[in-house]
C-alpha cells in the first residue's frame, strides 16, 4: 500500500504489533514510524508530533536548498551566476598559487547581441543565451566552472590549463557556437550568432583574480576590435 504514496509526505503506519515483519518492510520502504494498535493515546501523540517535526524540518531544508540555488544560479540559463563565478575564481587562484599549477579564465561575449535581440525579439535572444549556455555547460570538465557573467557574457574558469591549451579550447568554442543549428533560421538570414573570447592565464597574465579578469576583459575587447568571432589573449 505504501507504494505509489508521495514520499515527500511523512508516512506513518498504524498496525498491530503481531504484524512486526510487515511493519519493518514498510519502514524500509519509506514509512517514518509506527503507531501500534490498539492505540495508546499518549504514545500515538508522541509519534505524530515527532513525525510533524520531521516534516517541518525537511520542508525547511528544501526551502534552504531553493534559496541557496537562487543565490548562486542564473535563472535564465540554469548556469552559475556572477557571484558564484567570483567566489570560485578567488578559491581557484588561491589553490593555483598554493599548488603551483596554471589556471585560465575566459570571458565569452555574444557578438552584436543587441542587434540580434532587436532583429529577432527578446524571446529569441533568451533562447540564444540558453543555447550558448547549454553548449558551454556541456563543453567543460568536472573541475571547470562556467557561469553567466552578466548580460550576454559568460565566464569560464579552467584549472590546470595553460595558455596554449586554453586558446585551442576557446577556438573550438567559437566554432561550436557558430555551428549551433538552433540559432540558424532560414526565414531570418541575419547570419549565425558568434562569440568573441578573451583569455587570461595565471601566472602568465596576472597573479590575482582582479588582474586576470582585467586581462581577459581587455583581450575580449581586442577580439571585438579585430573583427569579432575570434579569440585573443
Amino acid at each position: 500500500m505504501i507504494r505509489g504514496m508521495d514520499l515527500d509526505s511523512c508516512i506513518l503506519i498504524a498496525a498491530p504489533a503481531r504484524e512486526g515483519r510487515a511493519i519493518v518492510q514498510c519502514l524500509k520502504s519509506g514509512a517514518y514510524d509506527t503507531i501500534l494498535t490498539p492505540v495508546r493515546r499518549r504514545w500515538a501523540e508522541i509519534v505524530i508530533a515527532r513525525a510533524m517535526e520531521r516534516r517541518m524540518y525537511y520542508a525547511g531544508s528544501r526551502l534552504m536548498e531553493r534559496y541557496r540555488r537562487m543565490a548562486f544560479h542564473d535563472t535564465l540559463t540554469g548556469l552559475h551566476n556572477h557571484r558564484y563565478f567570483q567566489q570560485q575564481l578567488d578559491l581557484g587562484v588561491r589553490a593555483a598559487i598554493r599548488y603551483g599549477y596554471p589556471l585560465t579564465v575566459m570571458l565569452i561575449d555574444l557578438d552584436d547581441f543587441k542587434e540580434y535581440n532587436d532583429r529577432h525579439g527578446h524571446l529569441e535572444g533568451d533562447r540564444a543565451l540558453r543555447a550558448v549556455g547549454r553548449l558551454l555547460g556541456g563543453s567543460i570538465r568536472a573541475q571547470d566552472t562556467v557561469a553567466r557573467y552578466g548580460g550576454e557574457e559568460f565566464g569560464l574558469i579552467l584549472p590546470h590549463t595553460r595558455k596554449i591549451a586554453a586558446r585551442h579550447i576557446a577556438v573550438r568554442l567559437c566554432d561550436a557556437v557558430e555551428k549551433l543549428r538552433c540559432l540558424h533560421d532560414r526565414r531570418r538570414p541575419a547570419g549565425p550568432l558568434t562569440v568573441s573570447i578573451g583569455v587570461a592565464t595565471y601566472p602568465h597574465d596576472g597573479e590575482a583574480p582582479e588582474a586576470l579578469l582585467g586581462r581577459a576583459d581587455r583581450a575580449l575587447y581586442a577580439a571585438k576590435r579585430a573583427g569579432k568571432n575570434r579569440v585573443r589573449g
Binding site: 500500500m1 515527500d8 508516512i11 506513518l12
Partner: protein, 60 residues
C-alpha cells in the same frame, strides 16, 4: 508546536480507528481527514492532505 496548520490524511483500517486518529490529530492542531481506501481519498485529497499520511492496515 503542532498548531502549524499541517494536514493529515488517515487511510484504511476500521472506521472507529480512523475516527480516533482523526480526533487525535485534531487535538494536536492538525487538520485531519479519513478515508476508507486510497481510491476514496482520491488524488485531490491526497495532494491537499500531504503533510502526514497514516496508513492503517497499511501492512496488508
Amino acid at each position: 508546536m503542532n498548531d502549524n496548520g499541517g494536514k493529515a490524511l488517515i487511510i484504511g483500517g476500521e472506521a472507529a480507528l480512523r475516527r480516533m486518529l482523526v480526533g487525535l490529530c485534531g487535538e494536536l492542531g492538525l487538520s485531519a481527514r479519513g478515508a476508507a481506501t486510497r481510491d476514496e481519498a482520491g488524488e485531490e485529497l491526497r495532494r491537499q492532505y500531504q503533510d502526514l499520511i497514516i496508513l492503517c492496515d497499511g501492512v496488508r
